[in-house]
Symmetry: C2
DNA sequence: CAGGCATCGGGATACGGTTCCCGAGTCGAC
DNA sequence: GTCGACTCGGGAACCGTATCCCGATGCCTG
């Protein structure tokens, strides 16, 4: 019957031509009915087409549609590790907002491997994604800035766009959007909370030395120490990766070398969890003997015993904001407003301290403040 | 210079034709150089093309490539909630295995909404994905079986394939692959662990009544009670969603109504965390006063205090297995082996109890066994 | 030195949609 | 009754890449 060649082995996919033929109309008409064009189509034709579409269970070929210029916008989410709670929340924000706008989300895992990151960005460029969202802190290694700048430009060249979430913005005139949170202020507030509770000997575990977020958190803490006139003791600083083992090992070592600390300022909730385990293993109580604070406010923070006082970071919101920023940008770009505005945009969200039960005032000093809220500022 | 029309506003995307023109060769040659075809191409042409590709920063259009039949296989991961740790681990497994094989991963969130699930499956069908992986327990509502069967068939009709991970297999001759774990045996072993430690009054919190995984876990527990000759007391059974609040509320209520329980058999680690909070709020110690067990063995289990004795479920492995199953299937399908084998496949992975510190023998009965390993069986 | 074979380049076509543009039909108005 | 305007259907030209198939060259052999 049908004169379309039947390859035999492969599944004969139903095309728009099959529908047109069966409905006794032209391919153009079918396309107009299905693509929601506002071109006038008679009700007769319309209903006939719809009927055949149902009968044949026809589905549009998204690739062909994209090729013809009418594709679904897609956002690519590139992430170090899907199972890290903070990243998962950002991803949820991006994906949710994408869905809301009818966008699709592609996901790729980099596993901290620059090679793989490069390969993924390239792959996404081929896919013609509307945007590539890079999640998580950046390692300040070698040519990181140059590397990202290259990504940004090459994506820009094909009409895509780079978005950095939870990383510091790029320097210079690089076409990339950054969605950030006030990392340093959060750490400042958190350290301030401990200091105002009277703690002076504070074991500081910011995270890995090369990671941008850890650097920010350390800086914030140091600024707080300064503000309170407390000298910063390098002996109480221990750096390491954002994981439980680091928290455990650092506390364990500190208990031998500098056991006079009364509080632990951890760079993440996970690290705090490890620290807590080590303290308990040493027979110390939290917060009676030692206070602990975290950072991130992932669900774990409220599941620990005692519940963790920590810095809340609006991860999911960051994801949402990131997607909306790039979607809006895209829309205005369609209005030929290109080249008029700046290509770089930097959005900063606020953080705040969440007080739970892991901090107790040091006996010697009275408690002063309870919660500090850092400002939400949006630059440019 | 170039006679390709320049649209003016839009970014002029570099096509294979531009490369061909600039390199002074034909489009066919460029394609052959780039697509890794084994068609013989002289080194002169090859190097000239490569040079121009670098100069112009040309990237292949993946949509066009797909349309021409040479696209990158893509797997779609449909998930209730990205931030649920267990799901995240499955997703990691799928994504990792996909990457290893050079596949791409699309992700969509359903948020437990059947409408949205339907829309997503349809969308994925349009995308021509090689497989759609549905993650997480299934609600045994109305026409769930019919619904899934329809999904399976409609995907099969376009050469795609449905994979169910962590759900029970579909009945009848439905073209779908199921990757499951031995849910009931895990619960049986876990309950047996409590029973052999002497516990007789066990508060059972399997999860939501309609969810397939919760049903399996409850069945396993009941079988264990039977095996130990312990009558099952419905007064000690409380069902509810897999979240912290449920664990808290259930324990809280039980402490008022049936306070003689000595252990809590929770249907998930999250629920166990909630239960633990409630016990502690009531001044009870874990495990001195009440023992607790979880299910899933997500990272949280070892971060709680005390560390949770729980059932390990190989989530990440399930994801890997799922992808490999569908990838292998696809490969053999290419060898025209279609219609020969059965379309439904069911893979079952084993679970085992992980003993930590949240269970103590009841005083009245001696502890008998410590760890039970359930069998790993793979049917068909 | 002629013929045959292996090597390699290029034109044309297919993939499955969208959209431009033209033409046929209908209807109202003068 | 004729003409213009408006409605709506269809043929055909793209979108960017892969590949079939044919032809042109160069080399080896007899």
């Amino acid at each position: 019957m049908s004169q379309r060649k039947t390859t035999g082995d492969a599944v004969a996919r139903v095309t728009i031509r099959d529908v047109a033929e069966r409905a006794g109309v032209s391919v153009a008409s079918v396309s107009r009915v299905l693509s929601g064009s506002n071109y006038p189509v008679s009700d007769t034709v319309r209903s006939r087409v719809m009927q055949v579409v149902r009968d044949l269970d026809y589905v549009t070929n998204a690739h062909a549609r994209s090729l013809a210029g009418m594709g679904t916008p897609t956002v690519a989410i590139l992430i170090n590790n899907v199972t890290a709670a903070a990243f998962a929340h950002i991803a949820k924000g991006v994906e949710g907002a994408a869905t809301l706008r009818g966008w699709l989300s592609l996901v790729g895992t980099t596993g901290d491997d620059p090679e793989r990151e490069l390969a993924l960005v390239d792959l996404m460029r081929q896919q013609g994604v509307a945007a590539v969202v890079l999640l998580g802190g950046a390692y300040d290694h070698d040519g990181y800035q140059l590397r990202m700048a290259r990504f940004a430009r090459s994506l820009d060249a094909v009409g895509s766009h780079l978005v950095l979430v939870g990383r510091p913005p790029l320097q210079g005139d690089v076409p990339a959007t950054t969605v950030d949170y006030d990392n340093e202020s959060g750490a400042y507030a958190m350290a301030g909370h401990l200091l105002s509770a009277g703690h002076r000997r504070i074991l500081t575990l910011p995270g890995p030395a090369e990671l941008s977020t850890a650097q920010g958190r350390l800086n914030g803490a140091r600024r707080a120490f300064e503000a309170y006139g407390v000298p910063f003791d390098r002996g109480l600083l221990r750096q390491g990766p954002y994981d439980e083992a680091y928290g455990y090992a650092a506390v364990d070592a500190a208990l031998h070398e500098t056991p006079d600390f009364t509080a632990v300022l951890a760079g993440s909730d996970i690290v705090a969890a490890g620290a807590m385990q080590a303290l308990r293993a040493a027979g110390l109580r939290v917060p009676e003997d030692v206070s602990i604070t975290g950072y991130d406010d992932i669900p774990l923070a409220s599941q620990l015993t005692p519940q963790l006082t920590t810095v809340h970071v609006p991860y999911e919101e960051m994801g949402r904001v990131a997607l909306h920023a790039v979607a809006d940008r895209r829309k205005s770009a369609g209005a030929e407003a290109r080249r008029t505005g700046p290509n770089a945009e930097h959005l900063v969200l606020g953080t705040h301290v969440v007080v739970r039960n892991s901090v107790r005032s040091s006996k010697r000093y009275p408690r002063v403040t309870a919660s500090v809220r850092t400002a939400t500022k949006v630059s440019r």
